[in-house]
Symmetry: C2
Subunit: 578 residues, 2 copies
Amino acid sequence: MTLAPLARYLPILDWGRGYDRSQFAGDMIAAVIVTIMLIPQSLAYALLAGLPPEAGIYASIAPIVLYAVFGTSRALAVGPVAVVSLMTAAAVGNIAESGTAGYVTAALTLAFLSGLMLLALGLFRLGFLANFLSHPVIAGFITASGILIAASQLRHILGVEAEGHTLVEIFMSLGTHLRDVNPTTVILGVSATAFLFWVRGGLKPLLRRVGLGPRLADIGAKLGPVLAIVGTTLIVWGFDLQERGVAIVGEVPQSLPPLTLPSFSPDLLSQLIVPALLISIIGFVESISVAQTLAAKKRQRIDPDQELIGLGSANLGAAFTGGFPVTGGFSRSVVNFDAGAETPAAGAFTAIGLALAAVFLTPLIYFLPKATLAATIIVAVLSLVDFSILKRACHFSHADFAAVTVTILLTLALGVEAGVSAGVITSIIVHLYKTSRPHMAVVGRVPGTEHFRNVLRHEVEVQPHVLSLRIDESLYFPNARFLEDQLSRYAADKRELTDVVLMFPAVNEIDLSALESLEAINARLKEAGIRLHLSEVKGPVMDRLKGSHFLEELTGEIFLSQHEAASKLDGCAPRQTM
Amino acid sequence: MTLAPLARYLPILDWGRGYDRSQFAGDMIAAVIVTIMLIPQSLAYALLAGLPPEAGIYASIAPIVLYAVFGTSRALAVGPVAVVSLMTAAAVGNIAESGTAGYVTAALTLAFLSGLMLLALGLFRLGFLANFLSHPVIAGFITASGILIAASQLRHILGVEAEGHTLVEIFMSLGTHLRDVNPTTVILGVSATAFLFWVRGGLKPLLRRVGLGPRLADIGAKLGPVLAIVGTTLIVWGFDLQERGVAIVGEVPQSLPPLTLPSFSPDLLSQLIVPALLISIIGFVESISVAQTLAAKKRQRIDPDQELIGLGSANLGAAFTGGFPVTGGFSRSVVNFDAGAETPAAGAFTAIGLALAAVFLTPLIYFLPKATLAATIIVAVLSLVDFSILKRACHFSHADFAAVTVTILLTLALGVEAGVSAGVITSIIVHLYKTSRPHMAVVGRVPGTEHFRNVLRHEVEVQPHVLSLRIDESLYFPNARFLEDQLSRYAADKRELTDVVLMFPAVNEIDLSALESLEAINARLKEAGIRLHLSEVKGPVMDRLKGSHFLEELTGEIFLSQHEAASKLDGCAPRQTM
């Protein structure tokens, strides 16, 4: 119990104390399977990020251990993921040439900044900032990123030098290099892609038929990329295909992750600050949704603010050990979970496995063709591409459709940063637009009752000199002005008006903008000889109003119920049925 | 009646048809008074904007006529105003040196861009964008701008060359020029300032005592600046003070507003786009609040979208006739209204008056000292400075206090653009933060009734295997994730849970993000063996849900009332009183 406050920031103290042999066995098996799966994935995402292959493996070692210490998910596997690697390539590619030391340093610095930001968001409990990204924006962004990633890998399949961070740039660049296409690479790349697509669809049923259980068959199918890598490496080695111009991974240093330093140049830091923020938030959103999905299956609890700290530590770890920005990945976490990982220790064991691989296995991938890595990327990311969000959003609301369309189009046309920023801005603007026009209804009395209903929907009685307006929304700055406009309109249009009653049963909150609008409305109605009343004001709103001078200035009264208001104001004028 | 659709965009068709002799008389008198008042004001604001004095007069002629044609307010007087002139100086000062042709062109271009933006906002009915500016942000911004403006005018009072767009810059620059202070200018400037302060407070009572009516006395007091200008001009002329280093206005061309062209250089346009947007929105917000206040007094109606068109036309007019950005000004509009302006024709007559002044009066202001213009600016803007907003906001809520403090500090420290942008961003972030944590209450049955209340506030009965959660807010992307987090927490903490009921009586709307969150919640609870139910779903929300697959996937039921839900789920478990 004495550890409780510390355990809030160090979840390892929580699960670590009860760790037993059966959990160890489960974690160990999961670690072996995940390690084997992660080797090709790590190499591939390093390629996608424009970094040397070993960076992918390094980026999976320290981060996974640090997340095990600080993270709250018991199954999340942290490391390089497709979308974040693409964003890294886009951000760092603006600053340095791929293959240079400056490029590597910029990637470390990006991980460092992103780590600091995630830590700060977690410590200051600012995880709510991720709410800026609505679901449709994320879905659109991931779909568009998948297309961009697949397109960016075509150059490795074709064996040409090409570049670009937008769809047009990529295809223009490929176009100008079409005459350099290497036929051997194309055959190898297309075969690997075809094989991997078959593995996705056909291997699992095959494994089931030869007698494997559903879970093993599933895991077996996930190891398809390893087969592709072993197979094509042997082919290149056996037929000396590198002599025919097939690009291979080549020499990879045999070492544990090195100790590295990010750059602290203010110039570089300021260039990377926006991309780092976007990467942090996208990475967090992706990771937390995987973590929550897996945690639910075992009724475990995820603490979003602690997750930020876990991911922040992981990225700082990547920055100091030769990696690049990382986050919790969907496919690796699912494999980890399905393979029976019980605690974050599985991650630590995976890290040991990868460290062994970094030391002993790297010579074996000398002949690994880059086309195979590109094929694994293409097959992996095409599963992210899902245009059904467009249909869903179109069906659901204009607002969501606008956000998702803008995100997809701008991501493809202008790149990841512009795309996701535009998506966020669009959804906030649309949100503000909707909020700025809250539902309001002119109400009248249902004859013979104490109930008041919308005059447009029900047969009700109204008093011609009284306007009763029910406001179906909290009042705050996005809609304060709308209320002013509406009341000016009513006051101008209804010449016989002497009293306005605002019904507040659905007003949960009021801010200073809305209070000042109410004061302006009160003053303007007074000029026009109209009294302003309120009815059915909720407790918290009444407290706010009492803290201001509004109640002293109010020309009319506060009624407990609309019935009371109507009865009191029912002085002279005859009733009218609408 | 056939004119109705056209009259929507041309309000002049509306009031112009019934124009009569009594309205003509009212408009004419108002025009004479406003013209006399506008001459010093226009000269002063041109000085503030860093432009030659005649630009201020030109900026009051075409804009006022165009607003009369397209605007909806019958009393609004459009022209240069203090805050917009300061923003113009800040924006244009970044691009060119004051006094150069480039500076004048940049100011025209700023008016042009701002006019286009206002027109576009009006035509596409995007006036709601002004909602980004909450009342506290505007109040803070205007207060800080008032201080900046007054500080920037000190150089004219001291007779030194100094510059700067932030408080620190201004005082640093004044400090380095202290030894150049011109004593004659100081005496003149301080006297003018003192006289104008006295006019504000003391002239009106004096005029009342000598027998003027309250309205005339009020208008008389507003003409104080004219007295100061005539007086100091005569003093300079009489004593040849320009020989003693008193800066004077000097030669002003005697002409009608010239035909000018803004620049269409993409480079300049892109540099001015953000300032133009800020100026447009600040100008619109200032103008519409004046217009609505005056319209209310006569129960007239202001159409915000049409106001945008009116102000947009006015700015385009300024751009093509040697002006700079304009908007509806508070003091001039009030004078216009008080002097009896009946229709926008008063504006047109004022324009004629100013055109005559531009042609015939400009030689008379040759000896007008700049210190007097600075004095009129200082006295005018210090009335804008009002720190009571800080106290109000502090008293009212942390959110509003944060927004107003950030706005004031950053406007003073970093300038107008940074200040207003930071204020907008702060209020949106704070809004999102508040929205992201909607009020939710676990509810239980009030014993013996069909009512359900918050378990924390009332003695109620709950069923231990059922969690009933009332959500007091619409569900959309800012709070979708919070709902997921909360329910994950409840599911993890309450082991005996078999059913979750979400009570939706206060959910007025739902967006795609929230729908997907509900789907994720449903799927995760299902994994945990918990059913999800909804109760008291409103019609519009139900329609949305019916348009999706959610209802098919929902593990539980939709109950019309919480009572029905509780009765149905009240199977086996015993009641417990909390």
